[in-house]
Symmetry: C2
Subunit: 256 residues, 2 copies
C-alpha cells in the first residue's frame, strides 16, 4: 500500500519537532541555553513569529523554560519532588491515611447538590443534597499545595449525628465515626489528570498548561454501598501518588 498523502506539518511544528529531537538526543543538554530567537530565525530561515510559536510548543511540553531578557533553557526533567502515599493504616479500630499534609486555612463547609459525576460515583440521585468540605493543604517541607474536598451525602450525615453537626471532621475521624456506627469500610480510588483551569492555577500554584493530578477516593461499606467521596487535586509537576497493590482472591466473576 502506498503511503497516504497527508498535509505536511506546519513550519512551526516541524521546527518544534527538530528542537525536541535535539533535546532528546542530548544535543541541547538539560540546563543548556537554546539559540536565541534571532539565531533560530537565521538558522532555519523562518520569521520570528514562527520561531516563537515553535518555542511556545516546547514550553508547553515543559521541555524548555523561557526567561524574559535571558533566553530559553532546557529543563531538567526529574521525578516529582513529593510522593503522596494514598495508603491507609489500621491501628486497632482506627484507620489513618498515610499522607501527611497540614491545613493552610480553616475548612470551608458548603451545602451543595451532587454533580452528575459525583452522583454516579456515589450511586446517588443526581442533584441529591450533600455537604462539601474544602480544605487547602500543603506539604510543610516542600511548600507544595493540594486541594482536598470531602463530599458527604445528606443521607449519610443523617445516620450520624456527629457527622451532621461537624461535616468538617478530619477524614481519619470520619472513618472512625463510620466504623463505630457498625460499618466495615472499604476504599476504592480512581486517578485522572487534566490541564489546570484558571481557579486551579491560583489555588494549586500551577503554571498555565500544567497538568493536575486528581484522585477520587470512595469509602464504601462491605456491602458496596458508597458512603463518602474524597477528592484530592495537586499539581503533577511537583507530586506523584503512591498506592500499594494487594492481590484479592478471585471469584473470577467480580466486576466491581
Amino acid at each position: 500500500m502506498p503511503g497516504e498523502i497527508t498535509r505536511p506539518d506546519p513550519m512551526y511544528v516541524q521546527l518544534a519537532g527538530r528542537l525536541a529531537d535535539a533535546i532528546a538526543s542530548g544535543e541541547y543538554a538539560p540546563g543548556a541555553q537554546l539559540p536565541s530567537e534571532t539565531q533560530l530565525m537565521e538558522r532555519y530561515g523562518v520569521s520570528r513569529p514562527t520561531v516563537r510559536q515553535a518555542v511556545a510548543e516546547l514550553r508547553n511540553m515543559r521541555l524548555v523554560e523561557s526567561h524574559h531578557g535571558k533566553g530559553s533553557f532546557v529543563t531538567q526533567r526529574s521525578t516529582p519532588g513529593l510522593t503522596l502515599p494514598r495508603t491507609v493504616r489500621r491501628t486497632g479500630k482506627r484507620y489513618t491515611p498515610d499522607s501527611d499534609l497540614t491545613e493552610i486555612e480553616a475548612p470551608a463547609i458548603i451545602r451543595t447538590h451532587l454533580t452528575a459525576e459525583d452522583a454516579a460515583t456515589l450511586e446517588r440521585e443526581e442533584e441529591a443534597a450533600a455537604f462539601a468540605v474544602d480544605r487547602l493543604l500543603t506539604d510543610p517541607a516542600t511548600g507544595t499545595r493540594a486541594a482536598h474536598r470531602t463530599v458527604i451525602p445528606f443521607d449519610v450525615a443523617d445516620e450520624n449525628t456527629l457527622l451532621a453537626l461537624n461535616p468538617d471532621t478530619d477524614p481519619a475521624d470520619i472513618y472512625a465515626l463510620l466504623t463505630e456506627a457498625g460499618h466495615a469500610l472499604t476504599w476504592s480510588e480512581t486517578v485522572s489528570a487534566h490541564i489546570a483551569l484558571p481557579d486551579e492555577r491560583s489555588s494549586l500554584q500551577a503554571e498555565a498548561g500544567a497538568p493536575v493530578l486528581v484522585t477520587r477516593r470512595v469509602t464504601s461499606t462491605a456491602e458496596s454501598r458508597p458512603l463518602i467521596l474524597e477528592e484530592t487535586r495537586t499539581s503533577a509537576a511537583h507530586v506523584q501518588f503512591r498506592f500499594r497493590v494487594i492481590p484479592e482472591k478471585a471469584p473470577a466473576k467480580g466486576r466491581n
Copy 2:
C-alpha cells in the same frame, strides 16, 4: 496592608480569563459556539492575533475546541471513557492483572541500561544492564491506546533462565515465574502525569498539550527487594486508573 503593585495581565490573558469565566458561569454552555474571531475583535477592541492567542489559551485548557472553517465550540467535559483497573487477582498461586488490553503489535525487546529514575526505583546501580520490553496495547471497545514497558534488570533475569530466554513473557506469567522461584511478591505503584511529548503524541494518539498518565508498578519480594518495573502510559483525556486501597496493619514505624 495596601495591595501589592503587580503588572497587569496581558490583554490576551485578560480576554482568555473573561471567556473562561463566561464558560464556567454557563453563559457559553457546553457545545455552544464561541463568537467568531472577528466578532471578538470588534467586541473587545483588540486585534486578531490577540484574539487568537486568547482562544489558544482556552484550547490549551481544553475549554474549547476549534474546527477549521466552522468555529470554536465549548467542550463538554466528561469523565474519561475508560477506567483501567490496576488491581491484581489471585487464583491459587497465580496473580493476574485485572486490566484487559490487547496487544497491537509484537512486543519489542531491547537491551538497555537503567535510566537514573529507573535505577532509583529498582534500587540498582545507575546504568545497570536490563531488558526493556515495549508493548503497544489497545482497548478493543474504545480503541484507546496504552504503551507498556517492562524493565527487567539482568541480575533478575540471570536467576530465572526462562525469563532470560523470553523477556517478552506476559507480565502475569512473569509473576508466576517469580512465584515459582520462591518469591513472595508485593506490588507498589506510583502515578504521575505530564504533557505529551512528540513521540507519545503519535504512539498514544494524544493531542498536542494533552496530559499523559503514567503508572510505574514495582514488583518486589517480601523482603522489599525490587525485581521488575512496569510502566504504563496512556492519554489522560480518555483513561483513568483505578486502585483498591486496603488498610495495612501499622507498626507505626514503617516508612516503605
